[in-house]
Amino acid sequence: MTFLDASIFWASSFVAIAATLIVIISRNPFYAVLYLILSLFGVSMIFYTLGAPFLAALEVIVYAGAIMVLFLFVVQMLSPAGSPATMPDIQRPSLIQLIFPALLSTILVIVVVLALLRSGSMVGTEATNVVSARELGIALFTHHYLGVELASLILLIGIVGGMHLGRAAGIQDETEVKVALR
């Protein structure tokens, strides 16, 4: 445990939390996506400090690189006249709306913190090893291949869904389309 490690951890944690907070209160979807990407970077750094460098990479590549880009596309697509800041119906959540969920969330967070404090160290000796990509790969394809299979199917389902719903996206006049499904 070095100071560097600690400072990286705490700094990235702060970044992640702060960026996420901004995401949920921001008005501009464009900025929100960017802040979310920032938050994901923060989480990625935490992964790194937790000894999961492979996941840290994946986080950036898949989350930030793929999913968030998808978001950006859609934001772009749906923004009138290409300017997302002017989307009329996006409002910042008011304080009154925030109070109830924030209160409950705070309670829950406090419960978790208390629980962690009370239980002390959960594991006698904390492991210090870094799980490498190789280890991960071996575990994945020896013990968890069914999971891989299912995960791939989930993506397939996503594709099927996208395909079906996307079919409608290209059609302007819906009265021509008869989706006779009861």
Binding site: Q97, L104, I107, L108, L114, A115
Partner: protein
Amino acid sequence: MDTMTSIYPSLWLIPGLPALAALLIFIFSGSIRPRSAGWIATTGVAMSFLWAIFSFIVYNNATSKGAVFFHQIGWKWLDAGFVQANAGLLLDRVSGIFALVITGVGFLIHLFSTSYMENEEGQRRYFGFLSLFVASMLILVLADNAFFMLIGWEGVGACSFALIGHHYEKRENVAAALKAFFVTRFGDVFLILGVLLLAMIGTVDFTRLETFGLADLNIVHPVFNLTFGQLLVIAGLLLLGGAAGKSAQLPLQTWLPDAMAGPTPVSALIHAATMVTAGVYLIARFHIVFALSPELMMVVAVIGVLTAFYGATCAIVQTDIKRILAFSTISQIGFMMLALGVGAFSIGLFHFFTHAFFKALLFLAAGSVIHALHGEQNIFKMGGLRKELPGVFLATVAGTIALAGIPLTSGFFSKDAILWSALTSDRGNILLYGVGLTTAVLTAIYSARLIYVVFLGAPRADYHLHAPSPRQTWPLYILAVFALFAGFLNVPGLLHWEHYFQPHFKGWASEPSHNLTGEIIAAAVSAVLAVAGWFVGSVLFSPKRMVEGRIIPEPAMDPMAIRIETASPYRFGVANFLYRAWDFDHLYATLVTRPYRKISKVLSWTDEYLVDGIYEAGSVILQLFHGFFVTLQNGRVGRYAAVMLFGAALIALLLTFFGSGNL
């Protein structure tokens, strides 16, 4: 056990024949002519009469061989716990006399009705119920136990209801029918309780009633915690309640005057000769129960004499011919009760016997008059009918003098005997005698009033007379003969009525004194008073006075305009009070009828809104909850997620505070 009885006439035929007639009429009412109904009914009753005579003769022959009664058990009827009863018939002296009168008078009235009802509507219904009534009445008197008797007892009530309401198009007739049924039914509640009580502590089998006399009155009953003697008094009072209801005794007499709404022959048969004397029969039947306690007997006597007085006072001021007779009936049954109450059971029955004839006669005669006058019942609209209806007039005179107790008529013999017993029997006293005698005088007065106002003097209205047919007059003559001469049945040495009943009532009857001189003096007193009463009546209501319009008591309005529902037709308060029959109706309306209606309405409301309201309120509460939960469902994702978060927080808090402990 009764294989032997088959050699004796079957008693079942006596009620069976009229019942059969009624059944035929009802079943074929759609296909027979109205007139045939009358003949079927009359034939049924006539045959029943003949069979009753035959049975009675056979029975009397058997009594000479030592038998006490004639008992035929049909089948085991009731069988549960202490409620044990056969369906069986019993012919003895009491039921024999009753059966004879019922069938005999019944036959005459049926005959009369065939003419009286000739052009009326609903003849089949009329005769059906009339026959059914006779059958029920016969079961009432012939039943061998009190439970079976109840069939007849209620049966006659039901027929009475149907017949009073025969002309149901008028609401007041219906009201009268209902009143009659309800009041008697009120009495029946007591009767049923009394019978049940007796059955519980002893027996209500008429052949075994004597065993009451053998019981120890001081034993304490385990269920009621009262002594046997006390229980008997209670049972007797309950029976008396039933008897008072049926026999229109105080305080349940109010229904009888109203019951005159029925056709007149019905009044003659049911409300004069037979049904209303059922109470007399009941007490005579249960004489042992009554005789076992002097207090009970005194109650019977007092009620009887008071009712007699009450009826006579009311009769004096009535203007409706049938109401006069109705009050007279109340009064006369009061005399019978007086006789029973002083222990002169056989005399009571004797008065029933004579009364049946002369009162039936009077009613039928009144019916003839009403029939002839096309339904007019106000006596002040009559007058001078002697010339128009001579036969009816003569018959009525015979009836009224018997009613008034003019010497040597049947009424004289029976009433005098009652008064004598009231004076001299162990249970009698001078007070009873005095009131009885006063009543006798009043009786003579209103009897005379009836004759003078209705038949003598000049006609007071235009008549379009409708001459009675022979079928109407002959029954009158036959009854008149009995009314005049039936009294000789109780002349010592000739056919001694009291002696005949001696084996039945045995020592339970209280013998009046047999002091011959005293008897003669008393007879003379009553004879003189009866004649005097008649004289007073003839003076007060002489045709001359009537012509001058000086009617006593003095009316406050045109006498011809007096109607039944008129509240105060006279100048004098007392007269009005009497006219309104001592205001009993008003009293009961205030005390019973109106509150009952009110309670019923209030409860109805309560049920609809309060009791059901509880459930409705429950459903409203559920709906409120429903409303609360549904308002949460507004279709907004944020709200739904918030509820989820709330649930999660709840789970977290529960876990934090309760840990893994099970509650």
